[in-house]
Subunit: 410 residues, 2 copies
């Protein structure tokens, strides 16, 4: 393949593009530079700010601390093992978390359940007797990728790190509902209320974390008390969290204290006007779609060394891809800013519809500048668009152009 | 079901057995005791001894520290999420680990490869350009379950906790071999040498960690630099470890510095006489089978509260099952010491042939004493035997009787 100039039709500058794609097999073993670093040092600096006490156990070197309630994983720290370790899972809290006292004995936490034939309260210990399952899934903040919206939406300027693939274990909501006689007639939503202590003197509806999702979301939903093999920590909603696989982060209500099956959606601001998909410059309201199901997405995780060049030769371009609410079908990689695409290979375990998968493409790169993009497609047929879908709050960004990275090869 | 007395035909005492198995569906929601604890407190005391510095990051409350080089996971800390977090993965080192300096910059670690057409040295950085994959697998010490051997074999008295299910990522050994021109003629074994610093004044063969496995083990073997999504820690063999899915722990040589394809097996004691399956009272030698492939196994992980009784009513009996070298086929649970068995349900993700799976069986237990056993079968047709296969060093214990637990229900 000869070197050539690529004019990116989008907003990026012209890039010198060289090299080409090479089959995995049959490559000569040449140009193995001694001591070359392909990944950034594990001890590279984090985001500068210190981890808050309740998340002090996070891997500081792998995280970017935006604020005490917003902590992102670095793009170079996703790894190739499918599961995101707890220490590397992003944190996003809408309110200050409750006291750590509530996770000291998770089994005594009490959940009120209403909108069922036999409403009542159940402790976690009681829930543990009703059913048990585990699900591997992508947990992702609705605002992941917000940093690329040009109108600078309010909220954390996440790039790719407000996402992880983790295992939650708990009781299927369906089992709880069955034990309580079934959903009451006329209920159309499943509404979860968080256990945060609300500031006094304010209308609770303006601050409380209470989210409604369509009743059919109950199908795969669980009330989880375990994350990645150990008790669910406070930072991630312990002792008990509503988990709705395939849905965006805000719907997985933490420290859930009330599960209600309701005829309408919650009157809380977080339901009525926040977390709605509406035009830039408008005000949010219930006439716009709620942020519920996750769209298909993907991004390169390695090599990613901003400001550093990469040695020429063979390299594995790796990343993660998620089908969103649907299973993955495939993922393509481009090294020329989207002019040409090639299917990448999955590797590692397939953990089901709601999990992400690691992928790799082996390429032989000659010196030059590359623009590396990835584009996933799910079983429903949704493919990542080139451009983000603009919206006032900067939600659901799955633009492949935004997620692309530049790589200088020397 | 009426209460009855069960005389266990083995070496256990007579147990009062009551209650019976109940289908998951159709159970009345009764007897939900308030505040009941089904699992032991997360903060229960560990094994007493302190964690060694190189493993200080382990979850102390979940581990039993036998010695600085032998650390076991508590039976009540396995969780239900398939993957064992790094903080809960057992540690077993044959020698004192090398200095932590070797994991400061993993990419510069150098591996010698011999017994191939083009022998040479490769750094981890170079290996990263040759291939990439990830495998979910059970890592298990050969002596897991040794505590139940009546002749008290020397070595750590592990019960069930010298095992975990983790994800390793690295380069397929096959890709490395291919890049180096293939295995040299006449080689029948893949031999790995650890990077430990050997004590001076001793014949290296008496102390060095060097293990040979049949050449065909190369098929799924990887040279791993990543564990559960982050760089492989020193405690688990970082910067680089030989990983042979389906094989017992000793074969996964840590800090590997030499990979050799050899005509014969290593002359090291650890190969020639240790880690051999031979009769009690005999001396180990190469006439006995080496500890290579892992046998099928399973054990209950909850409820497990020695010295504590459990409240009557519905309870999920949970555990882990592994197929060993072969995929799992099924697992049965008995609450009457093996007189009757019932198939348990898998839950959570199926991560492939070498991973373990979580299982659960819902039972309704009346007051009484139960002896709960589990019995897994793999695709090859191997089923856990009732009795352990006696051997001098206490390896490969997969007796369902040894792994059973007693439960008192009140």
């Amino acid at each position: 393949m000869t070197n050539r100039y690529l004019i990116n039709p989008g907003r990026r500058r012209a890039l010198t593009v060289g090299g080409g794609l090479a089959a995995l097999a049959g490559l000569p073993v040449v140009a193995l530079a001694d001591g070359v670093r392909q990944d950034p040092p594990a001890k590279a600096a984090g985001g500068g700010k210190a981890l808050p006490d309740y998340a002090a156990w996070k891997d500081a070197d792998a995280m970017i601390v935006h604020s005490a309630n917003t902590i992102e994983l670095r793009r170079d720290a996703f790894g190739n093992s499918t599961i995101t370790p707890r220490e590397r899972l992003y944190v996003r809290n809408n309110l200050t978390p409750p006291s750590a006292d509530i996770v000291r004995d998770p089994d005594v936490w009490s959940l009120e359940v209403s909108g069922v034939a036999k409403p009542g309260n159940l402790t976690v210990a009681e829930l543990k007797r009703l059913g048990l399952t585990a699900v591997t899934m992508v947990l992702q903040c609705s605002g992941n990728g917000r940093a690329w919206f040009p109108h600078k939406p309010s909220g954390t300027q996440w790039t790719v790190g407000a996402a992880g693939c983790v295992v939650f274990a708990g009781v299927p909501v369906k089992d709880v509902v069955k034990a309580l006689g079934g959903v009451a007639d006329g209920m159309k939503y499943m509404t979860s209320t968080g256990g945060e202590v609300l500031p006094e003197g304010l209308d609770p509806n303006t601050v409380k974390v209470e989210r409604s999702v369509p009743l059919e979301a109950m199908e795969d939903a669980i009330l989880a008390w375990e994350l990645n093999g150990a008790a669910l920590p406070l930072a991630h909603g312990g002792p008990l969290r509503m988990i709705i696989p395939g849905y965006m982060g805000v719907n997985h209500v933490k420290y859930i204290r009330h599960l209600a099956f309701t005829a309408g959606q919650s009157p809380a601001k977080i339901q009525q006007s926040s977390y709605r998909f509406y035009p830039v410059g408008e005000k949010g309201s219930d006439k716009y779609p709620s942020i519920w199901e996750m769209p298909v997405n993907s991004w390169i995780t390695s090599p990613y060394q901003p400001g550093k060049s990469h040695p020429a030769g063979r390299v594995f371009l790796t990343g993660v891809a998620l089908g969103g609410f649907h299973a993955l079908k495939g993922v393509e990689v481009s090294i020329d800013g989207g002019q040409t695409w090639r299917a990448a290979d999955w590797f590692g375990p397939d953990m089901g519809r709601y999990a992400w998968r690691n992928f790799a493409l082996s390429v032989d790169l000659k010196p030059g500048k590359y623009m590396i993009a990835t584009r996933a497609t799910n079983d429903k047929g949704d493919t990542q668009p080139k451009e983000r879908r603009e919206n006032n709050r900067g939600y659901n960004n799955n633009s492949w152009l935004d997620h692309s990275v530049e790589l200088e090869v020397v």
